[in-house]
Amino acid sequence: MRNPLADTIVGIKPSGIRKFFDIVSEMKDAISLGVGEPDFDTPWHVREEGIYSLEKGKTFYTSNSGIKELRQEICNYLYRSQKITYDPMKQVIVTVGGSEAIDISLRAMINPGDEVLIPQPSYVSYEPCALLAGAKPVIINLKAENEFRLTAAELEEAITEKTKILILPFPNNPTGAIMEKKDLEAIVEVIIKNDIYVISDEIYAELTYKGKHVSIASLPGMQERTILINGFSKAYAMTGWRLGYACGPEEIIRQMTKIHQFAIMCAPTTAQYAGVEALKNGDEDVAKMRESYNQRRRYLVNAFREMGLECFEPYGAFYIFPCIKEFGMSSDEFATRFLEEEKVAVVPGTAFGDCGEGFLRISYAYSLERLKLAIGKLEHFITKLREEKS
């Protein structure tokens, strides 16, 4: 039989997280700090709205770009949080999570050989999606000394004539880094000068702990060259509902809608009705969850400081990204031994790009009790490692 497979997909290596997942699932009594989703349940009033929509028989396809009411609420939200105005009829598409929006925005904009700049460490799907779209991914290795923010110099250096798109993944998974307004202003100049488009993945926009998130699309000259991606998974603890969206220039959204129409039809109808409720009446829930995350974040930053574990203070998402270079082993080795010896699972930084070497992603989407237990074990483990070394 001949080879049934496509070279492009075979050439893409599976997510580094997957490998670790397989080891962890074998261990029944392991404690995990490895998830990338909230520990909270979706707020009850949001779930209820989903249930009501089912009771009322809202079980059909919606329009390709999503129910009008939801698109309107998305625009209202972006106006109240960022003062950006989008036309709900032409500049918004509701997607199956932020993930689909990443995929179709790349597919709508890439011609073969176009270069896509991907700052790393970052979420695992940008590079594969860029490859599948036919682009050449160009990695920008972010640095711990800049708190993993993207600098204008780093951006400038990565740009060639073929550069078409910059992916901007802030607040960042896995580092917890944010880009403040001043950081964005510095790169905007370079972006406009080089006529580049931005895909801004702002799925963690509601989870920042040092002032409010600023979208790059809100800066002068940027709305017309930015696809803003956000969703409901992180802010409203709605990962399983699979609901996200993209907003941007009409001509790009129109093409994205075509891909979405042929590949997906529409985002889940039940989720869309729940999403309307989340945006209309969910601000308080978000504030409560953010307060909890922030308390855990402060707890971890302090605990690492007391352990003498090097770590910059993260101001976004729900991850902390400590440096383990002092132990003279790779992230993978550290994570594997930590799992085997203390039964705690964390994700090696390398799962998010080669420059994640020497770091670990620790999620604080866990109760404080759980974090305390795991941190106790981490302390025990690194004390042991330090003794081994001396």
């Binding site: 997510s15 997280i17 670790f20 997942f21 962890v24 699932s25 392991a30 995990s32 490895g34 998830v35 990338g36 989703e37 520990d39 979420y123 695992v124 799907s125 998974n173 307060e291 308390q295 855990r296 402060r298 707890y299 302090n302 699972a345 994700v347 799962a351 404080l368």
Partner: protein, 164 residues
Amino acid sequence: MEENKKEELLRIIEKNSRIDLKELAVMVGVSEIDAVNALEEMKKDGIICAYHTLINWEKTSIEKVTALIEVRVTPQRGQGFDSIAERIYNYPEVRSLYLLSGGFDLMVILEGKTLREVSSFVSDKLSTLDTVLSTSTHFILKKYKDHGTILNDKKDDEREMITP
């Protein structure tokens, strides 16, 4: 300390009054001394009234009966409902007492060992007060949720162990 920090302290200890003070301070992002002082101050100001524990007595061998009693009273000139309220809340078996709007005036939450104990409180003590016009007693059959906590809510973490 800023008001919002104080409020955050309160929100945490309302859920977990046994939290370690050092931890509490770290979580809110203030020094331990400041946290201790703020708590002391709020105790003095009557903002923090007591530190209780939420117990599901149904799971123990101790028998308890809880009743909600709606009470209609005649308010007294110059004192409104306060003096009658005082007469009622001074009984140790009264757990809570609220003044309400609507069809009746006071809500008494009463705890006793037996049904008879509660009934005799209502008939002997409560109904016989001069200003009490009528009472209506409801016994609690089952507690589902108390103080924001769902009793018998044992949920496992259903998330995958590792997700991107």
